[in-house]
């Protein structure tokens, strides 16, 4: 199986044919779910999809070491390789690895200013130019709206979209299924796409709360 054949395995294909273009430059997407309900796995699929398309993925993870993030990738790739009986994953991996860059921060040390500094380190020396950013673990209940606005400006300047994972709690229940849960309800206008993951037995329902209207079961 070639790299191109693998691209349609991305879960987002159910929402949009060309999942890679769901978000434009400077746009925000959010993946909402409770603890252990697949936010990170979803993000990894998103990362792999973009990597396979040859896009540069900057994976920012808060509160986890690089080693752990690498392990997630290994695990997802291993599963895909088993599922599609791939025998050349090593070669494929060697090809896509230069397109991935992992940055980790402790939650309390992360700030938009710090991220900008790191981004400048990378781009000014021509080391890495991200084309999509995945931000895992940002505590929205402790993040100020002004920081997210700053981040939005930064992403527009650098020309990439950002996907966030958003942890929701039981107490964040909404009255209508289409309502946006509290962690990002007050800043929902900053997000162009909002997805909610809902486990249903062995499957995960992906509900599109905001964005192109579609609702599919994976």
């Amino acid at each position: 199986m070639s790299k191109n054949n693998l691209i349609p395995t991305n879960p987002l294909k159910f929402i949009k044919e060309d999942a890679g273009h769901l978000l434009g430059d400077g746009q925000f997407g959010a993946i909402l779910a409770g603890a252990g309900e697949g936010k990170t796995s979803f993000l990894m699929h998103l990362a792999l999809d973009n990597l396979l398309r040859g896009k540069n993925v900057l994976h920012i993870c808060l509160g986890q070491p690089i080693k752990k993030v690498c392990l997630w990738y290994d695990e997802i790739l291993h599963r895909i390789s088993d599922q599609y009986e791939l025998n050349n994953t090593n070669v494929m991996w060697e090809m896509i690895l230069p397109h991935r860059f992992i940055m980790t921060f402790s939650i309390e040390d992360f700030s938009v200013e710090r991220l900008e500094e790191r981004l400048n380190d990378l781009t000014e020396q021509g080391i890495f130019f991200p084309q999509i950013v995945l931000l895992d673990g940002l505590p929205f209940d402790k993040t100020e709206q002004s920081s997210l606005i700053k981040l939005k400006t930064l992403t527009k300047e650098h020309g990439f979209p950002v996907w966030f994972t958003v942890m929701i709690h039981r107490e964040d229940k909404v009255e209508q299924p289409d309502d946006i849960p509290s962690p990002i309800s007050h800043i929902s206008d900053l997000f162009e796409v909002i997805l909610k993951l809902k486990p249903a037995g062995r499957e995960i329902n992906v509900q599109l709360i905001k964005g192109p209207k579609l609702d599919k079961v994976l």
């Binding site: 860059f101 940055m103 980790t104 080391i127």
Partner: protein, 693 residues
């Protein structure tokens, strides 16, 4: 020797190079009357400090080998391990911390928290060693102990509290105000041995009171009694000392002392602090693995009467044989005892038990639990556990960093060869971070260690201590070759030069595989007789030993033979081996061979402000940066970098980060060399071949 473990302190003195720890140790030995004269590290008297006993150390003014020594202070027995400050010798620091109960972190009042202080601090926290800090060189121009205390808080996240304030500073440094007794201390006499207590100078009283308040605030978090006393404004020295001790033992508080060892000021209060605030051996929990019981963790007890458990942490080859530094955790180690090395199971009879005092020794009959001493004539490796017969415990293994740099060495003549071997055998046993091996591909003897200076020192020691004249070179990177596509071969080896001829035809194909080498025989109909199949395999195996591009081994090749021809008279083992070798060459050229190079997983730890520079330096070395990890003021950068690009990196890294960054690397994988680099390598190899011809 007293036998009360409550009166024993096992401490390490750790610091950045040139923070003055050897001078401090020298003063400690003087005040505890172990020595009767003071010599400076780079002294004009040519004697050198007592702890720096190796000639080389005296010359360079740095401490290379930990020298263990002990002294007595106000009835307490203090075992001190003086540790080297340079980053290349961190194994010495690690070993010391493994066996010690408490540490003194020496900082320079001008330089503050430097890179090595950060490394040492991380090591202390790995082994959960409670520590106190001593800010030295307060007499120096630019000295600012309070700035260093701030750095301890900010850079090392210590809850650092001043225990003293200076009376005067820089050239005017006269003494200290003790914030517990609220007295001014001056150090009189030619060597500061007479302590004069006075009232606090008027100008310092307000500051002393404010600092004492802060000290009480911080310490009261560790003692309800102190908190109550503070509310009632009835804080006594004993209550305050107990609270500070609690905080220190829990690693929640770092009492900071100040002084100038060189000017003989502030050393005696530091000794008092060692006895007051650092733990007794029984206050530290130590565990061993019960090897007879599925490696279950067993807590050790500082009890003389229990069965022996002791750990060797350092070996030295002395004039009278191997000297083994040992720490007893449980039981008693006595002269004449039979003990068992739990790694080898070998029984050993204890000969002489000594207390070391730099390079002098003092014979003692036994070493009880909690004590550090040395044994003579015991064959073992550093890190071995010794127990009483019948007990098979092993202390948890020490964290040993992987070597990061290698160098090829060779003896200048035959005489040097023997001496070099002797030296290497000793050094590798003494220092687990120093390794030596023969590279079978290049035939070179390769030494590897923790840095260029580390290796340099060993090469010099080889020359000085063993008289082994050796030459050093740049080690050759172990490249590999492989093929990238399937290719056919069909070769007939035919030779008729009079007498019996040689004939053999081998045909088939080769293709890339994951394994090193696979040989498959698909001959049907006996076109190659069965007895010559192994000759073919031998021929192909021989061929992969040396590739055609650079002459390095070929890996990842599958050979399939499916046709051939033989001659009833002229075919032989030799003929089919030769035919296979030629067939390999034929196929190899068509199979698009490439060069592979070892890629190292490199981890650089750097202060955040140098992150960009470090990433740039890795990028310049064809490194692929996997990611960065921000940990407050420190950043960790992980990258995959070709080994060939890593030589000399430690020097580049140090100069690019003011010596504040450090790196480790380990082999990760083999990866194809980019075409431009491969062309260059092939050109070089061809030139060398031409030269050799």
């Amino acid at each position: 020797m007293n036998r009360d473990p409550a009166m024993v302190r096992n401490i390490g003195i750790s610091a950045h190079i040139d923070a003055g720890k050897t001078t401090l140790t020298e003063r400690i030995l003087f005040y505890t009357q172990r020595i009767h004269a003071i010599h400076d590290v780079k002294g004009k008297d040519g004697v050198g400090a007592t702890m720096d006993f190796m000639e080389l150390e005296k010359e360079r003014g740095i401490t290379i080998t930990s020298a263990a020594t002990y002294c007595e202070w106000k009835g307490y027995e203090i075992n001190i391990i003086d540790t080297p400050g340079h980053v290349d010798f961190t194994i010495e620091v690690e070993r010391a911390l493994r066996v010690l109960d408490g540490g003194v972190l020496v900082l320079c009042s001008v330089g503050g928290v430097q890179s090595q202080s950060i490394t040492v601090d991380r090591q202390m926290s790995r082994y959960k060693v409670p520590c106190i800090a001593f800010i030295n060189k307060c007499d120096r121009s630019g000295a600012n102990p309070f700035r260093v205390i701030e750095q301890l808080r900010e850079k090392l996240n210590h809850n650092a509290v001043a225990m003293q304030i200076p009376i005067g500073i820089e050239a005017d440094f006269q003494g200290v105000v003790d914030l517990i007794s609220m007295k001014a201390m001056y150090f009189d006499g030619p060597s500061g041995e007479q302590i004069r207590l006075e009232e606090i100078p008027q100008g310092l009283r307000a500051e002393a009171e404010a600092r004492r308040e802060s000290l009480i605030d911080a310490a009261s978090m560790f003692s309800d009694e102190l908190m109550e006393a503070a509310l009632d404004e009835k804080v006594t020295a004993d209550v305050l000392i107990d609270a500070i001790r609690n905080g220190t033992l829990a690693r929640g508080l770092t009492p900071v002392f100040i002084g100038s060892a060189y000017k003989n000021k502030g050393v005696q209060p530091l000794l008092d602090a060692v006895t007051h605030y650092l733990p007794q051996p029984m206050e530290v929990e130590n565990f061993a693995l019960d090897m007879e019981n599925g490696e279950v963790e067993k807590k050790l007890e500082t009890d003389f009467s229990k069965s022996l458990v002791a750990l060797t942490f350092k070996l030295e080859e002395g004039r009278y044989g191997q000297l083994t530094y040992i720490r007893v955790y449980q039981g008693t180690l006595s002269k004449g005892d039979t003990i068992v090395n739990s790694r080898t199971g070998r029984k050993v009879r204890v000969g002489r038990v000594v207390h070391m005092h730099a390079d002098q020794m003092e014979e003692i009959g036994s070493l009880p639990a909690g004590y550090i001493g040395a044994l003579f004539g015991v064959e073992c490796s550093s890190g071995d556990t010794f127990t009483s017969p019948g007990t098979r415990y092993s202390m948890t293994s020490m964290h040993i960093p992987e070597p990061v740099i290698s160098l090829a060495i060779g003896p200048k003549d035959n005489k040097a060869q023997v001496k070099m071997s002797k030296a290497l055998s000793r050094f590798t046993r003494e220092d687990p971070t120093f390794r030596a091996y023969v590279d079978h591909e290049t035939g070179d003897t390769i030494i590897s260690g923790m840095g260029e200076l580390h290796l340099e020192i060993y090469v010099e020691r080889m020359r000085r201590e063993y008289g082994a004249d050796v030459t050093t070179g740049i080690p050759q990177v172990a490249y590999r070759e492989t093929i990238t596509r399937q290719a056919d071969f069909n070769y007939t080896h035919k030779k008729q030069t009079g007498g019996a001829g040689q004939f053999g035809r081998v045909a088939g194909y080769m293709e890339p595989v994951k394994d090193e080498f696979v040989f498959e025989n698909r001959i049907v109909g006996g076109s190659i007789p069965t007895e010559f199949i192994s000759s073919c395999e031998k021929g192909f195996k021989k061929s992969i030993e040396k590739g055609q591009l650079l002459g390095f081994p070929v890996t990842g090749v599958k050979i399939v033979i499916n046709d051939g021809q033989s001659h009833p008279v002229d075919s032989s083992d030799m003929a089919f081996q030769a035919a296979s070798r030629r067939a390999f060459l034929e196929g190899y050229r068509k199979a698009k061979p490439v060069i592979l190079e070892p890629i190292m997983k490199v981890e650089v730890e750097t202060p955040t402000e140098f992150q960009g520079a470090v990433m740039g330096s890795l990028n310049q070395r064809r490194g692929m940066i996997l990611g960065t990890q921000d940990e407050g003021n420190i950043s960790v950068i992980e990258a995959g970098v070709p080994l060939a690009e890593m030589f000399g990196y430690s020097t580049i890294l140090r100069s690019g980060t003011q010596g504040k960054a450090q790196f480790t690397m380990e082999f990760s994988t083999y990866r194809q060399v980019p075409k431009s680099v491969a062309d260059e390598l092939i050109k070089k190899a061809a030139e060398e071949k031409k030269k050799a011809a």
